[in-house]
């Protein structure tokens, strides 16, 4: 209830006297200041610096920006095979992770929502992996995937299957990282879905069952449509998170074997920090930024159409 009132006040309230609003604006700014200052200092500032740097041949081991190269860095990136293959690996990772992370989160939330007793346990169990730091998660999965002596090979061998070299085979490495990632981050989407489901009025289901709708029909006709916005939110957050993939891959494969899991951020890390070429790294970062921006705009378009439709 409270949320509704506040939202109403913010969006629909008729204009209060101008003077007062100005006064509150100043107050609001003061309260926002700690956030705004840090945001300017650590996000907006560096982003602008990065944009400027992307036009220079800046180096990590030289002070200042270096000499102006115009679009040189961008041209080099766009004509570099490594850039395109790393961008493809990023997109491939996103394609592989997003559907399971949305669909499985939905299915598990649905199951957990149906549990009468001990729902807290399932909610907790699915969310716990998400709380792990990436380093812990990577270590766990490296142990599972270790050839010959790892858990996975052990289990597979005991049921008579020859285990693949999970992290060492270029054909398997990405899939292995994807499986680990799904296990790790599923909890977040799961909680979003569960919250969405609990917001659906129970009388809808009651009415549906009186009208003779079975469980399956209730899911397809009530749950899924009512969760439309949640699904959009989950998908957008997921796509953006997947495009920013770095931690797990850096820790589990360092981009290998033979560069088969080197994503854009790993490429940026390699050129900027290993090769000291921060100017070129900034240009590649800008290109990745544009890709994420485009994806975000597409989703924003979908959301606003959804809202007009509702």
């Amino acid at each position: 209830m409270t949320t509704q009132t506040i939202a109403g006040a913010g969006t629909v309230a008729p204009a209060p006297p101008v003077q007062r609003r100005r006064g509150r604006g100043r107050q609001a700014l003061l309260f926002l200041a700690p956030f705004l200052i840090l945001y300017l200092l650590f996000v907006i500032g560096p982003t602008i610096y990065m944009l400027i740097m992307s036009f220079f041949d800046s180096s990590l081991v030289r002070p200042g920006l270096g000499s102006f190269t115009g679009l040189g860095n961008y041209i080099e990136a766009l004509s570099s095979e490594d850039f395109w293959s790393s961008l493809w690996h990023t997109i491939w990772f996103t394609i592989l992770t997003t559907p399971p992370l949305v669909a499985l989160a939905f299915v598990f939330a649905l199951l957990a929502d149906r549990v009468g007793r001990g729902r807290w346990f399932f909610r907790f169990a699915f969310f716990v992996p998400y709380l792990l730091p990436s380093a812990v998660m990577a270590l766990i999965w490296i142990w599972i995937y270790t050839p010959a002596i790892g858990l996975a090979s052990d289990w597979l061998t005991s049921i008579g299957i020859t285990p693949p070299n999970f992290l060492g085979d270029p054909n398997w490495a990405m899939i292995s990282v994807v499986i680990a990632t799904v296990w790790w981050t599923l909890g977040f989407n799961f909680v979003l879905y569960l919250a969405g489901m609990q917001d659906i009025p129970r009388d809808l289901y009651e009415a549906a069952s009186i009208d003779g709708a079975g469980p399956f029909q209730q899911i397809t006709r009530i749950t899924i449509p009512m969760l439309g916005r949640t699904t959009t939110l989950v998908a957008v957050l997921q796509v953006i998170a997947s495009l920013k993939i770095f931690d797990q891959i850096y820790l589990m494969t360092t981009g290998g074997p033979n560069f088969s899991t080197r994503t854009s951020l790993l490429y940026i890390y390699d050129v900027s920090f290993t090769d000291f070429r921060t100017g070129y790294g900034a240009a590649v970062s800008m290109l990745l930024f544009v890709v994420i921006l485009i994806v975000s705009f597409i989703w924003l378009g979908i959301v606003s159409r959804q809202e007009r439709g509702v």
Binding site: A9, V61, T146, A148, L167, G168, N258
Partner: protein, 451 residues
């Protein structure tokens, strides 16, 4: 809800006062905190005047040993404070070192791999150590093994003081090798100095261990792939880069010979695993599932802790004949550049470096071959086994070729190691891998140096 009319907002005045006082207090704290690293960073002053700031990248057993040496320094020099910082090996370390130096807040002494020193010198990040200063602290050529001292000279100037050489070596399980008949009368490993001798030894060790002849890390570990390749390739006299990395001189025939041999060991004859990561290789050797283990000598501490029967020796001289060669790098101590002449800082740094070198025997217990001759030639070190077994490797050390993109943990090692790994894992043929090396190196060679 009309918040603007609510009396709740009257006390907002006091909140504003509160905020103002908070700001005032924080401001005061900032000014008062010039002595803290944050304060010093903000005003650009020395972090702790009169203190030796020292950075290294040693973890594991090395880290423990370095700690002992630092404690000893504190005892010997109570007049000097010491602030020691250990950072993660590889990129994270070198990135922070170069940024701290650029920001004029460098440590007084830092550890650097010798293969990284030329790049830092080219970037002007290291202070030249003047002969007259070095003489006062007895840090002169005659006190260091020749090869290690030579490596630290760039254009006739000294920019680094060698601490040790850490070569690629051969670990062997003494129980397995004894049973396989690979030990001589003095319980030393028989020479394995040809393709056939090594294959024969691995075959016999495999029969005894029941699993593998030897292990050498492969997956997610480009550095080790580079180390084993470079050791064999340099025995053939092969070079990879010339003209400071602007020219690629990779000898296809020699590279093919080495890659064919490595492939035969892991893929064709299955004497070594074709899929194993760093931790896995250590575990296989420590649990007696392999007779040999190939890696840098620093893993000695792991196997001592495991209380297993093992010894160490030179990596086999498969191709070298009379010219033995093996991949290695050196740990050196450098003084990063800081603005302004500061003789006191130089003296502090050299006092500290001298103290560490004096404790080279402690350091050598961790497997590294000491560069400090008074220790290297001492009876104590000669009696230190298995550490002194491979001391000769220091003079046969082959470092990564000089180039801005080369050196320990560099992109050069990533590019070469990735291609080598595909062959050892049986994912690509040697000629394909060599073509890939040429392609990837060419990109780096054609890029304008960022230093």
């Amino acid at each position: 809800m009309s918040r603007q009319q609510s009396p709740v907002w009257r006390p907002g005045m006091s909140r504003r006062n509160f905020l103002q006082s908070v700001l005032a207090v924080t401001g005061g704290l900032t000014v008062a905190s010039c002595g803290t690293p944050l304060g010093a960073g903000l005003v650009g002053s020395d972090v702790a005047p009169g203190t030796v700031d020292y950075w290294d990248l040693f973890g594991g057993g090395d880290g423990v040993r370095m700690q002992q040496m630092l404690d000893r320094f504190r005892e010997e020099h109570p007049e000097l404070d010491l602030q020691a910082v250990t950072l993660a090996w590889g990129n994270p370390y070198y990135t922070k070192l170069s940024l701290a130096t650029l920001g004029d807040q460098p440590p007084d002494v830092a550890v650097s791999h010798l293969s990284r020193v030329p790049t830092f010198v080219a970037a002007g990040l290291l202070q030249e150590l003047l002969p007259e200063d070095l003489e006062r602290y007895e840090l002169t050529a005659e006190n260091f093994s020749e090869s290690s001292w030579e490596g630290c000279q760039i254009d006739g100037k000294t920019y680094a003081i060698p601490l040790d050489t850490h070569p690629f070596v051969l670990f062997y399980n003494t129980d397995i090798c004894a049973e396989a008949g690979l030990l001589d009368g003095d319980d030393q490993l028989v020479p394995l100095d040809s393709e056939e001798a090594l294959v024969d030894a691995l075959t016999r060790a495999k029969e005894v261990s029941g699993e593998w002849g030897a292990v050498c890390s492969l997956d997610a570990d480009t550095a080790t792939n580079w180390r084993i390749f470079q050791s064999l390739y340099s025995q053939l006299g092969g070079e990879v880069l010339a003209e400071d990395g602007t020219e690629i001189v990779l000898d296809d025939d020699k590279a093919l010979q080495v890659l064919d041999y490595l492939k035969s060991l892991s893929v064709d004859n299955a004497l070594m695993p074709s899929s194993v990561d760093y931790g896995g290789a250590v575990a296989l050797f420590a649990s007696g599932k392999a007779g040999f283990y190939m890696q840098g000598e620093w893993e000695i501490a792991t196997f001592q802790t495991a209380e297993m029967p093992f010894s160490m020796t030179l990596f086999p001289n498969v191709y070298g004949g009379s010219d033995y060669a093996v991949q290695a790098d050196l740990h050196t101590l450098v003084v990063p550049m800081r603005s302004g002449e500061d003789q006191e800082r130089t003296d502090r740094a050299l006092t500290f470096i001298q103290s560490l070198l004096g404790q080279s025997l402690t350091w050598a217990e961790g497997g590294h071959v000491p560069a400090w001759l008074p220790v290297q030639e001492s009876a104590e070190y000669q009696d230190l086994h298995p550490q002194s077994n491979y001391a000769a490797a220091a003079d046969a050390a082959v470092l990564d070729p000089p180039a801005w993109y080369s050196g320990s943990g560099s992109n050069f090692e990533i590019v070469m190691g990735s291609a080598i790994a595909t062959v050892r894992a049986g994912q690509a043929e040697p000629d394909v891998a060599i073509a890939q090396m040429h392609d990837d190196l060419q990109v780096l060679a054609d890029t304008a140096p960022p230093v």
